[in-house]
């Protein structure tokens, strides 16, 4: 292989890797959100559809374990917080990765997306401008 096609191949590999990175992060966010929604459903079911004193069967891997209701709720709650945090982290990472992909592809970077968002109050103040 001559040096030019080798260079091209190297460049393409680089782009593909960056793109793969973006895609896998996206998929990870989807998976975590799916888990988050399932947890939310479970929490709701526990709250409304179960008498307080009854124990619930919780599935760990391929085993069901009986737990008290309050304990289960606590566990899921903790899990939710953890998930929330992870999703936020992944979203932040995703931004950096998209930027990296744009760089390697030679596209202009997205303008203004690195800004921190306005707070709700500030948004309300300028809202009439934005909803045109």
């Amino acid at each position: 292989m001559d040096s030019v096609s080798k260079q091209a191949l190297e460049y393409l590999t680089e782009v593909e890797e960056a793109a793969e990175d973006v895609l896998s992060t996206k998929q990870q966010i989807v998976d975590l959100d799916m888990k988050r929604n399932r947890n939310r459903e479970a929490l709701h079911a526990l709250k409304h559809e179960m008498p307080d004193e009854e124990k619930v069967k919780v599935c760990f891997g391929n085993m069901f374990i009986k737990f008290s209701k309050s304990k289960t709720q606590e566990m899921i709650q903790k899990d939710q917080e953890q998930l929330e945090k992870e999703i936020n982290d992944l979203r932040r990472e995703l931004k950096a990765k998209v930027k990296c992909l744009n760089d390697t592809e030679g596209k202009p970077e997205l303008r203004g997306y690195n800004l921190s968002p306005l707070s709700a109050d500030e948004l309300k103040a300028v809202n009439s401008l934005l909803k045109r």
Binding site: K26, I29, V30, L32, D33, M34, R36, N37, R38, R40, E41, H44, H48, R91, R111, G112, Y113, N114, L115, S116, P117, L118, A120, E122, L123, A125, V126, S128, L129, L130
Partner: protein, 459 residues
């Protein structure tokens, strides 16, 4: 619910009138900033276009702010065309404000107020809005009404994306807003997490065959991809002037009634400046210095020029582009003569781009472009004749003849404008030179002819 929401109909087709510079699409430069002879509606003026291109690049990179450029040249040499070219190539995000020098003289507003509004219209502020939304296709809505008829309703909403599906339990409020929006299975909706606001995006393609007849405004969309709970980030660009206006409105309702803004208190401006600077320090806003274009800048008077001098020094200042067709003339509001009618101290701060008269070949090319723009077909001979007219009278006069000759041609049911059509409109409409000739001949029979000796005073 008694209130029915009128669907917002957005008109996409914009009626564009054919303006004097509507054929300009950009500066016509290649990547190395070399001007192409004919490109993007621009013809000739290579040196000035290149100069404008250099300035354009600096504006785009945001390197310069508070600078001023003067485009000077004889009438009809493409000064406004170059400014329009800069505006077109700046892109949507960079604010561009154009005004004519005489526009600032108004009874409702002081000159400096009009100028400061124009300055602030040319400065953009980029801000970001971030919302958590739930977006998905409705699989099923199930609402249980209590048997007694009163009391709280409960319900379940099943939403899905291409990747997942989940059930949400609904409270009273959500049920109300769902039925208000007439959401049904198969709709794609978003729910704003913070406010609970529901908006319908359209119907899912997979449910397109659910009904045989559907309203024309039914929009079909794809089932959303990815996660259900998304973060939506929108970047907005607003001008400082727009922020000024809403803030002066909340204080006094006078502005609401007069239609436009009226004058804006300097305290309001200072507050806005402080807020925007605070946002910038917190990383919440970016300031985009745009371009303010003042055509016929010799119409400004001494006060305005000193205001400009001062305004350019401010740290929130756009790039100022001015155009004039005057030579050495009196500065308005004084008895001093100065080049371009602009005081020397301001002139000293300017980068000056000169435009030169078009050659015959270039004139021919411009007329051709204008013909295409105005949808008039011109025969080869008529084109040559029109070019001659353009060279001998003025380019503007020749351009005026295009549409009029087109009308004459259409009236005789021709498809192509011939030399006779040009001749006819040439005899119908006088150019400037022939008009003054006529004046000289018949001056005595006009009214008020005794004022002939007094020199015309433009100011």
């Amino acid at each position: 619910m008694a209130t029915t929401k009128v669907p917002e109909v957005r008109d996409i087709t914009r009626i564009e009138r054919i303006g004097a510079h509507s054929h300009i699409r950009g500066l016509g430069l290649d990547d190395a900033l070399e001007p192409r002879q004919v490109s993007q509606g621009m013809v000739g003026q290579l040196a000035s276009r290149r100069a404008a291109g250099v300035i354009l690049e600096m504006i785009k990179d945001g390197h310069i702010a508070g600078r001023a450029v003067l485009i000077a040249g004889q009438p009809g040499t493409g000064k406004t065309a170059i400014a329009m070219g800069i505006a077109q190539s700046l892109g949507l995000d960079t604010p561009f404000t154009a005004l004519a020098g005489s526009e600032i003289f108004s009874l409702e507003m002081s000159k400096t107020e009009a100028l400061s509004q124009a300055f602030r219209k040319a400065i953009g502020v980029r801000i970001k809005e971030e919302t958590e939304i739930i977006e998905g296709e409705v699989v099923e809505i199930q609402i249980d009404r209590p048997a007694t008829g009163t009391g709280s309703k409960v319900g379940k909403l099943t939403l899905k994306t291409t990747e997942m599906e989940t059930i949400y339990d609904l409270g009273n409020k959500m049920i109300d807003s769902l039925s208000k929006e007439k959401v049904q299975a198969g709709d794609v909706i978003t729910i704003d997490k913070a406010t609970g606001k529901i908006s319908k995006l359209g119907r899912s393609f997979t449910r397109a065959r659910d009904y045989d007849a559907m309203g024309a405004q039914t929009q079909f969309v794809q089932c959303p991809e990815g996660e259900l709970q998304k973060r939506k980030e929108v970047v907005h660009t607003v001008s400082l002037h727009e922020i000024d206006v809403i803030n002066s409105r909340t204080q006094g309702f006078l502005a609401l009634f007069s239609g436009d803004t009226g004058e804006i208190k300097s305290e309001v401006r200072e507050q806005i400046n402080a807020k925007v600077c605070e946002w910038r320090e917190e990383g919440k806003a970016e300031i985009i210095p745009g371009v303010l274009f003042i055509d016929e800048v010799h119409m400004l008077d001494m006060e305005c020029f000193s205001f400009l001098n001062r305004a350019l020094e401010s740290d929130l200042s756009p790039v100022l582009i001015m155009a004039t067709n005057r030579g050495i003339t009196r500065i308005r509001g004084t008895n001093y003569q100065s080049p371009h009618g602009i005081p020397i101290d301001l002139l000293d701060r300017l980068l000056i781009i000169a435009t030169s008269p078009y050659t015959e070949k270039e004139t021919k090319q411009i007329l051709k472009i204008r013909c295409e723009e105005e949808d008039v077909e011109l025969s080869e001979e008529a084109h040559t004749v029109l070019t001659r007219i353009g060279m001998e009278t003025s380019l503007r006069y020749a351009i005026q003849l295009i549409s009029t000759a087109g009308l004459v041609c259409r009236k005789r049911k021709g498809t192509e404008v011939q030399v006779e059509d040009i001749k006819r409109v040439y005899s119908l409409f006088l150019d400037e030179a022939r008009s003054s000739q006529y004046m000289k001949e018949y001056q005595d029979s006009f009214l008020f002819n005794e004022t002939q000796s007094a020199a015309m005073d433009t100011s």
